[in-house]
Amino acid sequence: MIETILNVVVDGLLIGGIYALIAVGLSLQYGVAKVLNIAHGEFIMLGGFITWTSYKVFGINPLLSVAICGPLIFVLGFVLHLALFKRIRMTSETEGAFEGNSMLACFGLMFIIQNVAILIWGAGIKGYSYLGFPVSFGGGAVFPANRLTTLAVAVIICIVFYLFLSRSHMGKGIRAAAQDPDTAQLVGVDINRVLALCFGFGALMAGLAGTLVSMCYKVEPTMGLEYTIIAIIVVVLGGMGSILGSFLGGILLGLIGSLVSHIEPGLTLASFYLIFMILLLVKPTGIFGK
């Protein structure tokens, strides 16, 4: 019994780390830049493919490819915001209109990125194996090395990012912009730059998540949507726009998934949606929200 519980918890944690990382990026994009990025999964897919290419073609260690993948996707996100969402923000009459329009623009982006990925890498399934062996810490418990690594890296990235937001000058600007864009502008924060930075950082997190995802799962151009959906569920679970909430929400969703799949695997996804919808109705600010 105890062993079963332990298994459920460990499995949940291992997958929860990736969920958390995926969701933190989306949470940042929505929380500050107010873009509900339907194409979030596409950035994850790009991260996965870049990692795959650098490992399979150039032989670069997947963990090191974080250094290639991160900046590339950050720049992509940053430029996209300046070229696209900034304009939509200016032409939209209300914040509600901006949220709607930018979401639909993201839908267009999703199409574009998928098609470009198919043109570059082909439509087929890709994958590689890295650190695919068990690690034992004694006592008979065995953990997969790559998933442990991904959990560790995900947690480290989230912590670093959290520190960045709470300690650095730029982070403070971002937080100010998130709370009150107008006042932030008054005290000299270049709001467009901050929003673009946020979108870029969100994309960066997605890219890094893509690297980690590719260490555990297959990579294909159409994989994005399922991760986007998970990210949205987690973000609702943790409270829209709350970075810490999204992190905890990701871990929580991992645990829920692990528990349900232990009892009735056919209902794993249904349980996700059910929890998500009930939560939206009962407590839209999320489990950890005020």
Partner: protein, 405 residues
């Protein structure tokens, strides 16, 4: 209020109507239409399996000068028109009918996946177009009795008895069967479980799960705790990749490990390395040793396409069915669907997989193999009987563990 807006609507509508007028084609080539999943969730599967074989066939036929059709007294080159169905059945049916009714193509090639085949077969049949089944098992389609539909690929009905046979043969005593909760998974589990029981293999665990599963470890741990010999998964490549990597990561080894779709594709050993997948069993199956023509097909494919042979389940089936089709057209001497259909239904031709014919239900049965196992980088056929290309390995070797840098 209706005014201006309405008028613009009217104008746009008329422009739309004008554009749809069809081009008229002179008979200097055979046009074949295919609605295919070039985008959307099915695109990756379609590109990894049957997709390239139709292109290879067209390429080879045209290199040959075309198909000789007596009616026209000359060789007609072949043109393949592909439309993107977006992985959506509604779009596929619409495009299929566009190809048939609007473009009036000479022949139809099948869309990808079982569900698409189900939707396409009745439509083709209604219009009297031959549909040679490609990727997709369609046990259920038999009940519909569609005279223009030809089933090519083997499916659960023939594969699962063979798997049970092999398991009994090599000494598997018990099994766990887990499957995706959809048509595919249910069909395979319904065929496999009774067969296992009949052969005296105890099914200690059976469980369905939702598509898009992200963690299979609990299922595997449960099976391991029941101490089963064989772990059998009925799912698509996504779950196959997931199951393989998780079993390897956790060091959980079963004496026999079977995934049904996935191991047959070459991206499978390419992903994990051939030493890792040694001993994994999957549906299929064929390889270069299966028939004299098989190795030749692999060589031709690798030479002519910008990728290596991707598919050791259907590849040989698809290509051979097209070779059979071509010979049937040449024998019929016409492009008339009904006449060609009659020839196809009755004649046997030599193809890369040897003799190719359809039985009275228009089902191809001379399969090169049902079940394969990776051995030394080759997907060996391990069926009992003469199709076998290598002895099965049992028990499956341990996962190689930590790779040396």
């Amino acid at each position: 209020m209706f005014g201006k807006k309405f008028f613009f609507g009217l104008i746009f509508f008329m422009i739309a109507v004008l554009f749809v007028s069809s081009p008229c084609l002179a008979k200097d080539k055979i046009v074949i239409g295919q609605p295919f999943s070039l985008s959307g969730p099915l695109a990756s599967g379609a590109a990894s399996s049957s997709g390239p074989f139709y292109k290879l066939w067209v390429k080879q036929v045209n290199a040959d000068g075309g198909i000789y059709v007596e009616e026209y007294g000359k060789k007609l080159p072949v043109e393949l028109i592909r439309y993107d169905d977006k992985s959506d059945v509604g779009t596929m049916t619409k495009l299929l009918e566009k190809l048939i009714l609007e473009d009036e193509v000479d022949f139809i090639f099948p869309p990808w996946s079982t569900a698409m085949l189900y939707a396409a077969a009745p439509i083709c049949n209604k219009h009297g177009y031959i549909l040679i089944g490609g990727a997709g098992g369609a046990v259920k389609l038999k009940d519909l009795d569609l005279p223009y539909f030809f089933q090519v690929l083997n499916d659960a009905e023939t594969q699962m008895p063979e798997l049970a046979e092999i398991f009994a043969d090599i000494g598997v005593k018990s099994a766990a069967v887990v499957y995706r909760g959809d048509l595919h998974g249910i069909e395979y589990s319904e065929f496999s479980i009774p067969e296992f029981k009949e052969k005296g293999i105890e099914v200690k665990m059976q469980q369905s799960y939702s598509p898009g599963i992200k963690d299979m470890s609990s299922l595997m741990k449960k099976a391991k705790s029941k101490n089963v010999d064989a772990f059998v998964v009925h799912d698509y490549p996504g779950a196959t990749m997931l199951g393989t990597s998780q079993a390897m990561e956790l060091g959980i080894n079963f004496k026999a490990l079977h995934f049904n779709v996935g191991p047959c594709f070459t991206f499978y050993p390419n992903t994990f390395g051939s030493e890792v997948v040694e001993g994994v069993i999957g549906c299929g199956a064929w390889n270069g040793k299966s028939t004299p023509g098989a190795q030749d097909l692999i060589d031709r494919f690798n030479k002519n396409m910008d990728q290596k042979m991707p598919d050791y389940w259907g590849g040989l089936f698809y290509y051979s069915s097209l070779q059979h089709f071509r010979q049937a057209i040449e024998e019929a001497g016409t492009l008339d669907q009904e006449k060609i259909r009659d020839v196809m239904a009755s004649k046997t031709y030599k193809t890369d997989l040897g003799d190719f014919w359809y039985n009275e239900d228009r089902i191809f049965t001379n399969h090169p193999g049902q079940i394969g196992q990776w051995q030394n980088g080759v997907f060996e056929v391990i069926d009992t009987g003469e199709k076998r290309t290598a002895e099965p390995i049992y028990p499956k070797p341990k996962w190689p563990g930590k790779k040396k840098k």
